[in-house]
Amino acid sequence: MKELKVLAVVVFFSLLVYWGVEPFAHGQMHKHVDGDKFAYSDLPEITKEGDAANGGNLVMGAGACLGCHSIESQGMPAPMDAGTAAASYGVNPPDLSNIGALYDEKFLAALIKNPAHALNVEHKFDPAAGKMHPMVAFYGAGGDIDQEVADMVAYFKSIAPKELSAKEAFDNACGRCHAMRYDKYTQLGDTPEFKYEKDALAYQIKVLEYQDHLKAYMGKLPPDLSIIIRARSAHFLETFVENPQTQLPGTSMPRVGLSKEGYEKVEAYLTEIGDPSKPKREALGPWVLGFFVIFSILAFLWKKYQWRDLH
């Protein structure tokens, strides 16, 4: 039929334009980065069997982790508040309660031995030039260092909770540098409700002070991630978090070291805050489309009826 031929021509050229300005042009604009699927192939495997009990002793003792980090779940509070910690180190060191559930174990081991290397920030921190990473490397407690590191990783895995919420994942992995204002979340955590304005302002000053330290440490204030899920493609976010240098060479953002499951949790939180209409769209879509399908069928019958004796 002639009309269908005309339709085919219109559809063909419309799709050609779509293909050209969307998939094709974007493919040309953004270089393709092959992800590593959070395998961290550049880091060495853990060869030793870890002993969690010994790891616990090292973490509390010779490893000296508690000089800077808290382990809230084990009753170990942070040695100083977030603001003071940021003033000392640039950024508040993370709580270690659930790192065993979030991060890749190879990454944790490499991080303990050489933070700047594991975090992929050796371009920023070069001991030869006197620029030390604020996290001190673990040089061993007298025994086999690989065994000791394996023990500590085993300890962190043993104390990690079985289930982590999406927000807890974000809080530990991203939240000490990135705010999430659409969830009333800053680098200091969830913003409390204040009865008096002066208390709210005092809190805000604390946030600003923390951010100033962070700015000095990172070069600029890391962006708020409220709707980053819509501002970047899923592929970009995944490969960027896995290794920021591949997408943005020279960036001061460290490699985060999340395991695949850990990243999925973070992504779920970013989606929940940045794209909250997703479940609503999926629920309403079929009804609206169904309505217009029925509408079109009825309209077609009406058209047939109106045109019945015209030809």
């Binding site: 334009v17 309403l284 045109w307």
Partner: protein
């Protein structure tokens, strides 16, 4: 004074007719507004456009209730308040965003239909010109609306487009500042584009739509063969019940029944895009807040402006602006450049047929190149396609001059 029937019930048809002439109005505007019978679904694009404009207007009114025209608040009022806190705010925003993009696809289909069937010729010049005025006003409406979310692309597109008014080597930066109300896009810039988007331009568009409908009245709608129809005679045949012999149909309900079917199919596509595939109409870059200190790596307009952007790009500053200026106004003159006496579909018009497809393909090539980074082979292709576009004008004059009367 006219005579009024004392016994007519208030608001009955007779009562209304005596006061408002509704019976005549209905005949003139719908039941005896005659449309040729020999048409295809492309003739429904006008009503599809009207419906899309209606959707844009309604969704726009809902968005307007929560949008805040303030450089400090605009971004979050769109991305947080409307998308998160307002019931169905996300739906209105996606309808508005997808509608603004898709309306241009339909406009282009509508325009190419007009060119293909020669619907701008012989008495139909004003239809074409009022349509072009609508196209230009819709473009301004789209651009001003694109500023409102105050994201990175809003800001930088605003910067680039207002810079064009410096006139290249004329360096008329005073004019640019006058347009912006500031040295760089800021609050004054945002609020004036807000005014344009929600008041002045929609008023102009509504006025132009009325004019565009009006221009159809005397020359009548064209048909698939470009045949000259005696509408009065054909209408008499139809009214006498000889519907098969008559070459016309009434707008309401016969033409409308087909329009509404086409609209139904169109709305399936439209809402599929709204719910499942809106990314093409809502550039990710614009979900980063405006930042005057951070230029995005690629600045490009929305897809419907890409062809004219690509005419600007391959030349040097002044030549580019001149070429761009010509491209903006050239299509207005189409009815006067085409010297052929024939009103017929392109495939009956020999060389014009080739001209038509070259124009279509060239504009698509320009559109795609407009989004690609201006590097290497894309630069050369861009230059060639821009020159081809500029040559198509004189070429049309020559080939239609030579065209023989069918």
């Amino acid at each position: 004074m006219a005579k009024f029937d004392e016994n007519a019930r208030p608001f009955s048809e007779k009562w209304l007719d005596e006061r408002l002439g509704v019976v005549t109005l209905k005949k003139v505007l719908s039941t005896e507004y005659w449309i040729p019978k020999d048409i295809n679904f492309l003739w429904a694009m006008g009503m599809v456009l009207a419906a899309t404009f209606g959707l844009l207007l309604i969704s726009g009114i809902f968005l307007l209730m929560y949008y805040k025209p303030d450089a400090a608040l605009a971004f979050d009022s769109v991305n947080y308040t409307i998308m998160t806190e307002v019931g169905y705010g996300w739906l209105w925003r996606h309808i508005h965003g997808v509608g603004a993009s898709i309306v241009f696809l339909i406009i282009y289909i509508h325009m190419f239909t007009g060119i293909y069937y020669g619907s701008y010729k012989k008495g139909r010049e004003m239809i074409w010109i009022s349509g072009m005025l609508l196209f230009v006003t819709f473009s301004a409406e789209a651009f001003s609306g694109y500023m409102l979310p105050w994201g990175q692309m809003s800001y930088w597109a605003g910067m680039v487009i207002t810079n064009l008014f410096s006139g290249g080597s004329l360096e008329a930066y005073g004019l640019v500042e006058w347009i912006r109300g500031d040295y760089v896009p800021g609050d004054a810039f945002l609020t004036r584009f807000f005014m344009l988007h929600v008041l002045l331009l929609p008023l102009v568009i509504i006025g132009l739509i009325v004019l565009h409908f009006g221009t159809l009245r005397l020359p009548h709608v064209n048909n698939q063969k470009g045949e000259e129809i005696d509408f009065e005679e054909a209408a008499e045949l139809y009214k006498a019940g000889k519907k098969k012999e008559s070459k016309v149909i009434p707008f309401n309900p016969v033409f409308l029944s087909k329009d509404i079917f086409v609209m139904g199919v169109y709305f399936i596509l439209f809402f599929y895009l709204v719910f499942y595939h809106f990314g093409f109409a809502m550039d990710p870059v614009n979900f980063d807040p405006a930042d005057g200190l951070k230029t995005p790596p690629h600045i490009y307009p929305e897809w419907y402006f890409l062809w004219s952007y690509e005419i600007l790009r391959p030349f040097n500053k002044d030549l580019g602006l001149i070429a761009f200026g010509i491209a903006q106004v050239a299509l207005f003159f189409l009815p006067f450049i085409d010297r052929s006496p024939n009103v017929a579909p392109a495939h009956k018009r020999g060389l014009f047929n080739i001209w038509f497809w070259v124009l279509l393909v060239d504009m698509i090539v320009l559109t795609i190149l407009g989004k690609l980074p201006p590097e290497g082979i894309y630069n050369d292709l861009g230059l060639v396609s821009a020159i081809v576009f500029l040559l198509l004008g004189p070429a049309l004059f020559v080939i239609t001059k030579m065209e023989k009367k069918i």
